[in-house]
């Protein structure tokens, strides 16, 4: 099995961009990713592509894989659309890793996009809604905020997690996002603001929910056979894990864990030969504040039931023991669904290459990204680590 390396990553701004299209945003992310490759990359070297996107409809059209690759000049290169709701491009990157490890490709583009701000489109509303369980959740009026509110209520009931602890997620992620020029909601918020926001789905308020966003993100993955042509400071994709679960929350045994995240994390840790103690930072899927707390527990950052205290203690702030969502997370950076997983990896790349600007952590060597689809029907985790070039097996 050949090792896979992350040799570039970049993203568009996240926000509401009525004058942009899914193709123009993707093109911006593609150029940023190509431009980030340390020793340069001729796009013609890309021999495979995977694109994550949730929606076909509204301002997004069909055959999105070939549609975006033709737009960035990769004519003829096989491009496959990968979709697992909000984990679409996390899975796209996983497919890029498989393509490299299999020997079927040497340099692979994996990215994603979503244009969601045009919610006047019936199609857009439709494909957003159907990504939850339909028969018992959606048709009874349960939205995604409603599903995550049930998870939050269960966690509060079982472990004593508080609204204030949930609000600490927002305060931290906004503080981080305020330092990210690509963030959609790049402003700080106080704990008072985060506590006093209007309720969306009790106990979750507006500051406990991510925005809807337009945006795109791209990553470039290369094999051990060619990585030295692109960088002298390789970032190895040391571990990849994925897991599925019942689509409907009501079908699961417990509301206080996301088993797909646990499975994905365990597989990724096993492949990487490290555990949560070996991480210097993580980007986790905080579509709602409770989701970040569940991720802490499912990925072993803290014990079960202790995530509320963990975030409130400052442990996941940039100066804490395990900085989480230095990018601002979905909460502040934004959540253009198909772009989100690749966008998390953009932050990992920036941190590991020392290119994170005001958000830069001190010499991080290993980071994790965690991307969830639906309310936990799918999850994918990657572990990235800097590796001395002389240790690349060839």
């Amino acid at each position: 099995m050949r090792d896979a390396y992350l040799i570039g990553a970049g993203q568009s701004d996240y926000g509401a961009f009525p004058a942009e299209s899914y193709r123009s945003l993707f093109s911006t992310a593609f150029d940023a990713a190509v431009g980030s490759v340390p020793k340069g990359l001729e796009p013609g070297a890309i021999d495979e592509a995977f694109v994550g996107t949730l929606g076909v409809g509204g301002r997004q059209l069909g055959l999105p894989g070939p549609a975006v690759t033709e737009h960035v000049g990769l004519d003829g290169v096989p491009c496959t659309r990968v979709e697992n709701a909000c984990a679409a491009s996390g899975y796209a990157v996983r497919q890029a890793v498989a393509a490299v490890r299999s020997g079927m490709a040497d340099v692979v583009l994996a990215g994603g996009f979503e244009v969601m701000s045009d919610t006047s489109s019936d199609a857009t509303k439709y494909w957003l809604g159907v990504s939850g369980e339909t028969e018992w959740e959606r048709l009874s009026g349960t939205t995604f905020s409603g599903v995550y509110a049930q998870m939050a209520s269960a966690h509060m009931d079982r472990y004593g997690t508080t609204r204030e602890q949930l609000s600490h997620v927002a305060v931290k992620n906004h503080a981080n996002g305020a330092k990210n020029p690509h963030a959609q909601l790049g402003f700080e918020c106080s704990l008072e603001d985060a506590m006093a926001a209007p309720v969306v789905a009790d106990p979750l308020n507006l500051y406990h929910c991510c925005p809807t966003s337009d945006g795109a993100a791209c990553t470039i993955v290369a094999s051990e056979d060619v990585v030295d042509a692109y960088t002298d400071e390789p970032i190895r994709i040391a571990g990849v894990g994925a897991g599925s679960d019942r689509v409907g929350l009501f079908q699961r045994e417990e509301y206080t864990t996301v088993p797909a995240s646990e499975r994905a994390g365990e597989s990724a840790y096993e492949e990487a030969g490290v555990g949560p103690d070996g991480l210097d930072f993580a980007e986790v899927h905080d579509c709602f504040a409770i989701a970040e707390l569940l991720a802490y527990e499912d990925l072993g950052f803290c014990d079960r039931g202790e995530a509320g205290e963990f975030v409130a203690s400052g442990a996941t702030r940039p100066d804490g023991q395990l900085p989480v969502n230095t990018s601002g997370g979905l909460k502040s950076k934004g959540h253009p669904i198909g772009a989100t997983g690749a966008g998390q990896i953009v932050e990992a790349y920036k941190q590991l290459t020392g290119d994170a600007g005001e958000r830069q952590l001190s010499d991080p060597r290993r980071g994790l990204t965690h991307n969830v689809g639906g309310s936990g029907g799918a999850a994918v985790v990657h572990v990235f680590e800097r590796q001395p070039i002389e240790e690349v097996a060839r």
Copy 2:
């Protein structure tokens, strides 16, 4: 790189089944695939899954990957949706091959489904329509039959291909499909019938167009490390190729070839170390009669411009030099979009395991499948060959 083997394949009936759902059809195909594994398969051995489907909307719901795997009892197994319009499950099987070759999985389910007969649904009509180019084709009223009609007209103009030759595709495929118990249009048609049918998009008439269908198909792919646990007569996935192209026909240099098919075929032949002369049969993407003729030329079954004569000569009948679409093809067997690519591989599996019933060819050793998305925006080709068990590398 580990070799990948096809150890099982099965499908539901194709047709219009208002009492079935995408999950029930998938379940039928899954059971058939598992049941076809020569030495048996415990579903718990499946460690990865890929599902191809075009549509989310209508009677098809979100997170289709986890939704179908949970339905067949594969809880927790990573399942990724793969989509490239009508080539969705051909690409899903390609991802299964990548998963095995990469070492990330040993036994992989790859299938697809589509429930299309409910065309009363706006969503269903919508996602069917958007898989073509939108700005210049769809919005000007060009349907898929219209796009393929332009390709047919160009081929007739350039090479003298005739309506009668196009009709020979229908006659052959219906004769084959009449022997396939799973076929949607399992009846024979005469050349006179096929010539006299009402025009759909000139020069294509009703017998030059495949039906819309409900159905599902599944394949099971295993690694060289475990294949002998499942069969004593392995079928090696000897070659896989894929290619993309401009989504819009008008963006391409010529209307008389599908370059994505050429690219996919060349890659698959190269991997397999064979050319068209080494094939004993093929299943090609005959969504419209002209598509089968273009496939003959793009895959090297005959010279450019000669496909019309080639089909009329009987060369691709079951008793000809290269039998094509013994299953009945999309034309007679049916075309439930997401199922189609995997369904072609079901026929290849049946032919290579001697399980094709009345359609059985005489001792075929090597076959090809060819699956196209859109009007040629994406294509994927697989070459399968029987291999003595003692030649499996371990």
